[in-house]
């Protein structure tokens, strides 16, 4: 079927859109909307391959440090002004400026001179240059393979400097970007309306407008969908999704998006008794992942390692821990815990899936004699607690990819050199120098084949040491009204409103 233009896409969100400013927005639900308003140098194809978006060519120097982009001519902001390379320099410096408070800051710290700029020691980032209006040069401190993915994140979209300077923090309400749509109206907490950006020349954007209703709960959204009042329910609860799955008339409304994420049980390798690898392996054998799958309403796949297969990633040599409580008990005996032990299992009670997994894991551990007391906390308290050293013996958390590369899981979450006293993403505080060496080598290496080999070696060692018991990779149940087409899930964007079109 050829896509048709026209119509208005009606969407709904459970709570206020946190932000649509590309420097600030960082949650799975805002980003697909931000991607309607703002576009940058690179985008993804239908999978995880990078394609040019608003640049006409790009080149990476042989040492992997210098990225040169030539911008497409005639690309204009929604206010009609032509985009210049300086707008990119401005946008990147805005992300790095601590006053912006951008959660994307760390991704750009690899640029030469970024650290000095952040610390206020330099007025500009020397690694960001615009020799002429259509040429952008980015110089990195050292080669970093994943920087190309950073340039495809919505953080890296250009913003018109005169508009940002005029409105300051109020840019939020006067968003101007280079995407297929522009912000027409945003009534806070009520609704948000997007219209075509008449200056946009790219291929995307079939519907004439997008309307987002704010503040509908899951049940209300599902009812509205069935009445044809909205076109999508972005994150249906397992209960609702199961109803659609079972009803032959409604089954085609349900789309399962394989999320590039991993829910895992981390064990603090610096705290007793999890400082013993045998104990951690025992835990891995004790967990019945197939059963957890059922607790997740069936909307998940079993995780055997930290890296989700959506990335795309496979590691045939990965040590597997298939459910084997006998072996778990034997390992515990060998480790000197014949009758198990007591511990505390922390998780964020705000997320129902983590509560289910926590209770599921607790029961599996009880079968082998490990008494884990559940410690639910609200997300802020949980986050503060588990990222602080020597605080939490074990817990459950999930990590959603930023970009489709194994390093986003292995390096970010399990590299021992990244351990800090506070705000540490390596919640297992796992530090194996050999793993660190592989990960550091992979970060600088530019050869995809060699990188895969290094990541596999690292992942194998990690699963031998077992600082985590990987649990499941979630699937996001999304409901669409049958009049909507172009709803194919995407491994990075999850869904692309810019590709959706409606029956006339």
């Amino acid at each position: 079927m050829t896509p048709k233009r026209g119509g208005v896409l009606h969407l709904a969100q459970p709570s206020e859109i946190r932000s649509l400013d590309p420097a600030i927005a960082f949650d799975s639900f805002s980003i697909p909307v931000v991607h309607l308003l703002f576009r940058g140098l690179l985008d993804y194809d239908n999978a995880t391959g990078l394609v040019l978006d608003q640049a006409k060519d790009w080149n990476i120097s042989s040492d992997g440090k210098i990225y040169t982009f030539h911008l497409r001519s005639g690309v204009r902001f929604a206010n009609g002004r032509e985009v210049e390379a300086e707008d990119y320099v401005f946008a990147f410096e805005r992300i790095l400026n601590p006053q912006t408070g951008s959660p994307g800051e760390t991704y750009f710290l690899g640029i030469l001179g970024a650290r000095e700029f952040v610390d206020g020691k330099a007025p500009h980032v020397i690694g960001l240059r615009a020799p002429d209006k259509t040429t952008l040069v980015i110089e990195l401190k050292e080669p970093q393979f994943t920087f190309r993915y950073v340039l495809a994140m919505t953080f890296a979209c250009p913003v018109p400097r005169e508009v940002v300077q005029q409105y300051g923090t109020e840019f939020q309400s006067h968003l101007v970007g280079t995407g297929p749509y522009r912000l027409a109206e945003w009534r806070r907490g009520i609704s948000c309306r997007l219209q075509r950006n008449t200056y946009y020349q790219g291929p995307d954007g079939f519907v004439d407008g997008v309307e987002i209703m704010i503040g509908c709960d899951d049940t209300v959204m599902t009812m509205m969908l069935e009445r044809g009042e909205i076109d999508q329910v972005p994150l249906a609860s397992p209960a609702q999704a199961a109803r659609f799955k079972r009803d032959p008339g409604l089954r085609s409304w349900l789309t399962l998006v394989d999320a590039a994420e991993t829910d895992y049980f981390f064990m603090n390798t610096e705290m007793k008794p999890f400082d013993d690898a045998q104990v951690r392996q025992a835990v891995n054998f004790a967990i019945d992942r197939e059963r957890l799958l059922k607790l997740a309403g069936g909307f998940a796949t079993v995780a055997h390692g930290p890296v989700p297969p959506v990335i795309p990633w496979s590691n045939p040599g990965l040590p597997r821990y298939d459910f084997n409580p006998e072996k778990a008990r034997a390992l515990l005996r060998e480790a000197g815990f014949p009758s198990g032990f007591k511990t505390e299992l922390w998780y964020s009670g705000d997320q129902p899936i983590f509560a289910r997994l926590a209770e599921g894991v607790q029961q599996d551990l009880r079968q082998v004699g490990i008494q884990a007391e559940l410690r639910p906390a609200n997300f802020t308290a949980f986050d503060a607690k588990v990222t602080t050293r020597h605080q939490v013996p074990c817990g459950i958390w999930g990590w959603f990819q930023d970009y489709p590369d194994p390093s986003d899981f292995l390096d970010v979450l399990l590299n021992g050199e990244r351990i800090t006293e506070n705000e540490c993403n390596n919640t297992a505080f796992y530090n194996n120098p050999e793993v660190n060496r592989y990960l550091d080598a992979a970060a600088k290496n530019l050869d995809p084949g060699e990188r895969t080999r290094l990541f596999r070696q690292a992942e194998n060692l990690i699963m031998q040491d077992a600082p985590w018991a990987p649990l499941i990779h979630e699937q996001i149940p999304v409901l669409y009204h049958p009049r909507v087409h172009g709803t194919e899930p995407h491994p990075v964007w999850l869904w692309r409103y810019e590709h959706m079109w409606l029956d006339p």
Binding site: R291, K294, R356, A358, L374, R375, P376
Partner: protein, 323 residues
């Protein structure tokens, strides 16, 4: 000195009401219905572990392999599960019965704490009057001005597992270390601490009136100490009021416990609580309504029972009240 020589006009429980045998309060129809419900739930709660041991009742925290259908959805009423299963495949009936243990224990303990605090403050304020009265009553009113549930949520927020070291760091008195965490004990303390102000005014008013009565004046004239006057003369006379307040207050504490559990800040899982069961079961209301209805009915019944007892007590014990 001999025991008090002046008979005071307190209520005689055995003689109140309309004649007949047995303590009069239990002859009141409302009290009997309420007490029967509470007794039934209490016995069930007490017997629950025994019933589980003899496999009459399932383990309330056991996630059964067969407790979820192929799609991971809870089962409705079916063979092995009288009230179906919950979202993790656990027996709802067993969880409701075990939930009574939590609700009744916390409700009663919190009520006792609230009554104790309310009595202490009300007695002091009413009996001593003056500046003490002024200070205590303003303090009570400040407490009253904050909704109990908000205060309870704030306290519960402090129970985030933090360690308290209530001694100078150099002393290393680690036996005093205290971990603030959510559980039965912390929850009953929180609820007790937020429920007492409601009682103070009533108690104080009664004490104020009693303080001026002849038998109290007489006891004082005979040289009885404050403690003796309070213990022998005031307390017995406000006891009926306190009993009524206690019964009604138990309904409130149980409701508060259910509310906090519903919000996810009650006793942590997997301990079954009625409020928590409702919260977990909400998404399944259409497909498996019993998950929500069963604990809901349990809450309604319990709260109703305590309110009936309170109402009945009030009618029986209050000599001024006409029916």
């Amino acid at each position: 000195m001999a025991d008090t020589v002046i008979d005071h006009p307190g209520v005689d429980f055995a003689r109140a009401g309309r004649g007949g045998t047995g303590p009069a309060v239990f002859r009141h129809r409302l009290v009997r219905v309420g007490a029967a419900i509470v007794l039934f739930l209490g016995l069930l709660a007490l017997a629950a572990p025994g019933l589980t041991r003899f496999h009459i009742l399932k383990e309330p925290i056991q996630q059964d392999q067969k407790g979820l259908d192929a799609d991971g959805m809870p089962l409705p009423h079916s063979g092995g599960y009288l009230l179906g299963t919950d979202n993790l495949g656990r027996d709802v009936l067993s969880r409701v019965i075990y939930g009574a243990r939590v609700s009744l224990t916390i409700g009663t303990a919190a009520m006792l704490l609230a009554v104790f605090l309310g009595l202490a403050v009300g007695l002091m304020a009413g009996f001593y009057g003056g500046k003490l009265d002024l200070a205590l009553m303003r303090f009570t009113e400040i407490n009253l001005s904050i909704p109990a549930i908000l205060l309870a949520i704030a306290f519960a927020g402090l129970m985030d597992g933090r360690q308290l070291h209530p001694y100078p760091a150099a002393w290393h008195w680690h036996f005093l270390d205290l971990q603030l965490k959510r559980g039965m004990v912390s929850l009953f303390l929180i609820i007790g601490f937020v429920c007492w102000p409601g009682m103070v005014r009533v108690i104080r008013a009664q004490v104020l009136a009693l303080r001026e009565r002849e038998f109290v004046q007489a006891a004082r004239a005979l040289g009885a100490s404050d403690a003796r006057v309070i213990w022998r003369h005031i307390l017995p006379n406000i006891l009926p009021t306190v009993l009524v307040l206690a019964a009604v207050n138990t309904a409130n504490t149980i409701l508060l416990e259910a509310g906090l559990s519903y919000l996810g800040i009650g006793v942590p899982p997997p301990t079954p609580t009625w409020g928590g069961m409702i919260a977990d079961g909400q998404p399944y209301f259409v497909s498996a309504p019993l998950i929500v209805i069963a604990p809901g009915v349990a809450i309604v019944l319990t709260v109703l029972a305590f309110n009936l007892i309170g109402r009945g007590l009030q009618e029986t014990l209050d000599p001024h009240r006409t029916r």
